[in-house]
Structure formats: C-alpha cells, structure tokens
C-alpha cells in the first residue's frame, strides 16, 4: 500500500448556516488523476479552497505524503507542493508570461536575475511536459488555452507535485481540451498527482483513474472510473435518476419566423464582431449556434435582443426589424414578441439585490396586468410570481427572496419563467445552463423543447456542445464572426463541429 499523496480526514466547513463540507474524507494515490464531480454548490470548490489555504476548515485533518500538514494560506500550500489552476485564471493581464510565472516566486530583490533564471527553467519545463507558450507575450495577447498552460507552468515552476484543476475545460474548445488532457497524461506519467474538478461526466470518464462524487457537501461515493458509468455517476450526483438526453420528437418546422441577411455588428471599440451572416429560424424548430466564446455569438444575440445596434437586414414574421435608433431597443423587441434569456443572468437577466417578484417584472413592467393607473400593481405582480415559481419549481418558493439568494439553477429558472411565460414568437436563449446543476438543466431543457412543440422559433447560443447536440434541430457553427456551416445534429459529430469551431472550414460550409 503506497502512502497517499493527499489524504483528507473528516473535513467540515460551514459558512453561517450553510454546511458547505460535511465530514469529508478522501484519499488520493500518488501518480493518478483523481476526479471530483458534483453539482454546483455541492462543495467541491470549498474543499479545494481548504486544500489551497483559501479557507480554514472548521474540523478535520490534511495529510500530504503521509505527514499531517496545516495549510493556513496559499504560501503554505505552495510549500507543501500543491499547485492550483483556478477556473478563473489568476493572471495579471498586462504582464508577460514570464513575469506572471515569476510573480511571488522570485529569487532576491532584483528582477533581472529572477527573470533570467525563470526563462531558462521554463524552457526545460516546456520541453519536459510539452507545454509551449511564448514567455515574452503579454497575457492579453494569448488565447485562453495558452493562459491555462501558463497557470500549469506557474504551478510546476513552484515545484508542485500535486496539481488541482478546477473546471479546466469550461473555456476551451474541444481540441484545446484534448490537448489539456494529453498534458495531464504526461504529467501523470512523470509522477505528478492530479485532482480534476468538473461537472462534466464525459471528462471524468475519459481522463480520470478514480472519481469521487459530492452531493450537498458530502462525499457520496468514491469509485474506480473503469468500474462505473456516466448514468451511475449522474444518479450519485443528483440523488435520483436523471435523463442525460432530452426526450423530444422530430421537429416540424413551419414558416420562417426569423430571417437574418448580411448581419454585421461593429462593437464600441470599432471591431467587427459579426461579419455578415445569414440565418433563418423557422416556427417549431430550435437552431443552435455552436462556437467558442467570443466568436460573435454574443453580439448576434445582443442585436436580436435589442441590446446593441447592427447593420444588415433582420425580418421577424416577414416584417423588417429596426437595427439601430428608435424601435431597436429591448422594449421594442419585447413588444414584437421576441423574448430573451440573456447569456449572463447575473448581469443582464436579473438584478441580484432585488426580490424575485421584482425581477419577474423586468422588461414587462409596462404590462397593463402589472399596473393600476400610474402605479405598479405589486399585489398582482406578486401573485403572478407565485404562479411562475410554482410552475417552474423554483426553490425555495419564496418571491420575497433576493435574486442573489437563489442557487444558479433557480436564478435561471426565474429568468426562463419570465421569458417563456410571455409566449413569444421567437425565444433567444444564451447559455441557458451555464453554472446550472444537472437537475435544473433537465428541467430548463424540457421547457425549451415544450415551447418549440407549441410551434415557436428558438435560437440557442451555447458553448456546451452536449447542450447544442441534445437541444438543436439544426446547428450553425460560428467562428470569427462568420457562420462556418450548418449541420443537422444526426449527421454530424463533435469532431466535425470542433473543427468548424476552430475555423477549419468543412467541405459544404
């Protein structure tokens, strides 16, 4: 029996009344990739923050390589040989790669010698692990995949033997994710221990040796990856049977609802984000826009939702939509029966400090049903909120709670309820399940499909290929402001879409 690289014994941590971690014990063998999977809010990140010295556990012990260790801060974690790659990178954007790697691990007060030494060591590390980045490029000049490699190099430069990666593929293309997993394999082969935190079942199945499942602050199971299945893991995560695939009948597309021709979008900085696209969405179908974040999908949604001006022609039910000036704002769009579930619910979909019932009114606050003379009819609004909360199973069912006090999934249910219940002709949906747990994903997907089955048109933008595949009746891939091609989900696969997402044109694009 080898000594575990990491052993946690009975870790508990509470934030006020919320028990984030309850008596968690876990043992990670050296030289393995150990996955930790769980829904949002299951306590994975809290546990890893305790291991990296961000939080102090209320109870429990941490053993590293057979020695009991206390980790009061990040410095202690680094000294214990732990490196962490956060979901949101901790890089200084206007520093070079080299400066970011050296920061906090300098030798001596002068910068020159430190940088020279780091440059040399970086070269060795790059060759040893095939982690290539240009040390003199600034962080804001390199892509997210390269930024992630910088984070890994940062950890290795600090002689990390244990590497924790928190949701590492969230921002990567499928090809970049594959590359990351090759790097992780390589690191494992060199004897490093890796903890991979994710909510994606596929990654767990592909990359890990062992997997631990967390649910509501507790560790519900630890199993060998080879001896389990995605279905079993999903059940362990949610605590009940879940449908990983959306049940839906084939679409019955009707007349065109949305017709986009030659749409161009130029942003505030004068950069052309959408470079002339054509797209049609018919009644009774879901068109999914796939693509890596930042390739013009957001801008497309924002123009349609009346959040920014565009150039070109967009028709709704055959009538042209104003793309700038009066009649092109969100108010006008809603009057034209376009509903919008924006990509970032916390910034664009909700006001986090307002009550749920106030959030339900946003965008529709001029609805006569919510008004009495010149005043808001708050009682009617609250009654309507109660109804929506019940229908969409928002938990806790309390309209007086501030939006920020709901979990991500329930926040999203509030937004989706507000928009879908308007019975729009066209529903715009951006990243409907980002940061949403599996149970709520299932529910939201069902609602979207139900709207489609009522003969409505739906335009879906998502960076999650799984979501694109399970919801869309037709898939368009965006890259660098262009639509690279349209595919039917049953006639394509992740590999082909991945190539299109990376800008490699398909034969019929």
């Amino acid at each position: 029996m080898t000594v575990p690289a990491i052993e946690l014994k009975g870790i508990s941590k509470a934030f006020g009344p919320v028990q984030a971690n309850k008596d968690i014990s876990i043992s990670v063998a050296p030289g393995t990739i150990h996955g930790i999977i769980g829904e949002n809010g299951a306590g994975k990140s809290t546990l890893m923050s305790i291991l990296y010295g961000f939080y102090k556990a209320d109870k429990g012990e941490i053993w590293i390589n057979g020695q009991q260790t206390s980790i009061p801060d990040s410095q202690a974690a680094i000294a214990a040989g732990i490196g962490m790659v956060f979901q949101h990178f901790k890089l200084v954007e206007n520093f070079t790669v080299l400066e970011n790697i050296v920061l906090g691990a300098e030798d001596g007060g002068l910068l020159g010698p430190s940088l020279a030494k780091a440059r040399k060591e970086l070269k060795e590390l790059e060759e040893e692990y095939e982690l290539f980045v240009d040390p003199d490029k600034r962080i804001d000049e390199i892509g997210v995949g390269a930024q992630q490699r910088v984070e890994i190099l940062k950890a290795l430069y600090r002689r990390a033997e244990i590497l924790i990666l928190d949701e590492p593929t969230g921002v990567l293309t499928p090809a970049e994710a594959d590359q990351l997993f090759r790097i992780l394999d390589r690191l494992r082969a060199e004897g490093k221990t890796i903890i991979l935190i994710t909510h994606k079942l596929r990654e767990i199945m592909e990359a890990t040796d062992t997997v631990s499942v967390m649910r509501r602050g507790q560790m519900t199971a630890t199993v060998k990856t080879a001896e389990t299945s995605p279905q079993e893991l999903a059940e362990l995560m949610v605590g009940r049977k879940v449908l990983l695939q959306v049940d839906k009948v084939p679409a019955q597309p009707g007349k065109p609802i949305l017709e986009i021709e030659g749409l161009r979008v130029i942003d505030e900085a004068g950069v052309e984000r959408v470079k002339g696209i054509d797209l049609t969405v018919r009644a009774g179908e879901i068109v999914g826009i796939a693509g890596v974040a930042g390739n013009g999908q957001s801008e497309l949604l924002e123009v349609l939702g009346g959040m920014r001006p565009g150039l070109g022609s967009i028709k709704l039910n055959g009538a042209p939509l104003a793309l700038s000036g009066s009649g092109s704002d969100g108010q006008a769009r809603r009057a034209q029966h376009i509903a919008h579930v924006p990509e970032d619910r916390q910034r664009e979909g909700l006001i986090m400090d307002f009550h749920a019932w106030e959030n339900v009114a946003f965008g529709y606050h001029r609805d006569p049903a919510y008004k009495r003379g010149i005043f808001m009819d708050n009682a009617a609004l609250r009654a309507d909120t109660e109804r929506k909360i019940e229908k969409f199973d928002v938990r806790p069912p309390d309209g007086w709670l501030a939006a920020k006090n709901f979990s991500g999934g329930n926040q999203q249910k509030i937004v989706v309820a507000r928009e879908i219940e308007r019975n729009p002709d066209l529903l715009l949906v951006g990243q409907p399940t980002r940061g949403v747990d599996i149970g709520a994903i299932e529910f939201i997907h069902k609602q979207i499909v139900a709207l489609r089955d009522q003969g409505k048109a739906i335009l879906l933008v998502s960076v999650e290929l799984e979501e694109i595949f399970s919801l869309s009746d037709r898939i368009a891939v965006m890259f660098d402001g262009h639509i690279m091609g349209e595919r039917l989900p049953q006639e394509t696969d992740e590999k082909e879409l991945g190539l299109l997402m990376a800008g490699v044109a398909g034969e019929a694009a």
């Binding site: 990296y52 990040s74 410095q75 901790k90 200084v92 920061l103 906090g104």
Partner: protein
Amino acid sequence: MEFFVTLIQVFDSTIRLATPLLLACLAGLYSERAGIFDIGLEGKMLMAAFFSAAVAAVTGSVWLGLLAGIASSLALSGLHGLASITFRGNQLISGVAINFLAAGMTVLVAQSWFQQGGRTPSLFGGGRFTPIEFPFAEAISTVPIIGPIYSELLSGHSILVYIAFLMVPLTWWVLYRTRFGLRLRAVGENPAAVDTAGVSVVGLRYAAVAICGVLCGIAGAYLATALQAGFVKEMTAGRGFIALAALIFAKWRPWHAMGACLLFGLLQAVALRFQNIDLGGVVIPVQVMDALPYILTVVILAGFVGKAIPPRAGGEPYVKER
C-alpha cells in the same frame, strides 16, 4: 539676451513649483499602482506642511520639522490604509474625509498653539531649507548660456528639490526592476493573482500607502519650509488634486509624471511672472493666468487627453474569493 534671462528665471521657478507636485504625484503613483486610490494627497500634504512648520518654528530645526511632517502624513496614510485595506471601505470617501480633517485640524491646532490667526510663526535661519549652491556656480555664472543654466537653473535649490527629481529614476527602477515593483504593479492589476502566488495583498498595499505617506510628507514640508517660510491656512491650494491630474495625464508612469508636473509647474510659474499679458490691445488678466493650472486639471480629469487606463483593481477592496 534679456529674453534668455527671463526664460531662465521662469524655468527656475517652474522647478521650484513643480517639486511639491512631483512629490505628491509620485506618492499617488505608488498608492494607485497598488490599487489604492488616494484623493487624500491634498490633506496629507497640508497636514505635513503644518506640522513641519510648527516643529521647525518651535525647535528651530528644519530637519526635525521634516520628520514631524512625514510622521503626520504617515499617520493619515495609516488611517486611509485602515479604512480602505483592513476595513475595505470606500477609498474615495476615506480620501475626502482625510482632506476635510486636515483642512480643519491644521487651522484649529495652529490657532490654539501659536495664536497667530491659524498660521505658524515665520521661519528663519535653521528653521528653513536653504538653497544648495553647486561648486563653481558663482565662477561660471558669467559664461554665456551654460553659465546661467548651471548656476541659476540647476544650482541653488533646496535639498528637497533634488530629492524629488531623483525620486523619478528611483521610482522607475523600483517599479520595473525590483521584486517589490513587480508585486506592487501586480497587486494593483489583479490582487487575486498575487494572493494565490502566496504573497500578502494586505502587506503590499500597506507598504505602498506608507511610501505614499512619506512622499506626501516631504511635499508638505517643502511647501512650508522651503518654498515658503511658514504655514498658512489652506496653503496647499489644490496641489494634491493637480498632482492627481498629473498622475492621470502621465498614465501612472514615473517619467511621464515628471513631464506632467513640470508642465503644471510651468503654468504656475508663467502666471507668477507675467501678471497681465498684453496681446496687442487685448489684455489677459492675471486671474486667467492664475486659473490656468486648474483649468488644465479639469480638462485632464474630464478625459480630454486620450484614454487613461487606471490600474485595473484600483479602488476595489480585495476580498478573497474564487
């Protein structure tokens, strides 16, 4: 030749007037580069001006005065640090409070201490910083061009002037060539990166605020014990805000800060030298000249001089989160 002499005199007073601006501007640079906005430069300078003058008047030693000025400015820095770093308060409000505190307290204490209508007694002898004459300044002053430049422009300032201008290359070197500078710049851009790299965000920010306090202290002491001979009510006259404008104009870079401060100093010097400018019939009144530095401040702060991107984490208290 007469024009040349005038020019030298204007530039000479430009240097004198730019010195307090430069010290305050560099003070702000350290603080803001570390992510702590400081609109309390004015208050710290004023407090330092008073205490340096008061102590110099009482003890007769300008050096004790300087130390007292620095100590009083550091105390206000500590207050600002406590409010904005430890208690994560609003940095603007803390800065405004410090300005009010200094404006009121200096006059109050001065009145009860010296009973001279809110001012300190005039300083003389060892109570003031005296000009330093460079070697051979007298001898070569008669050499055309070079002579006046050497003996009038470069020589004959107080030690604090030379310290202020030496701070510029020193600040550049600290910022871009040392570990401390790297960390300082990083903590103003992304404190989370510094924190996860195992370096104390709080420690770095307090260090920056302390340096800011020392420099503001020198600036204030210079005003009361070198530029003038004693403290008078509101004697900083908005220099802290002009320094802030210069800092934005310089986009938080030391050499550019020097350029910006010299520009403001020049405007002040011109206003002092040319009281009413006659442009062939149209007379520009002295008030317009006096107002120029302030007008330029407003223009810069309103963002007419290109886009200045402040340190990204500036003004935001750091809360550990993932």
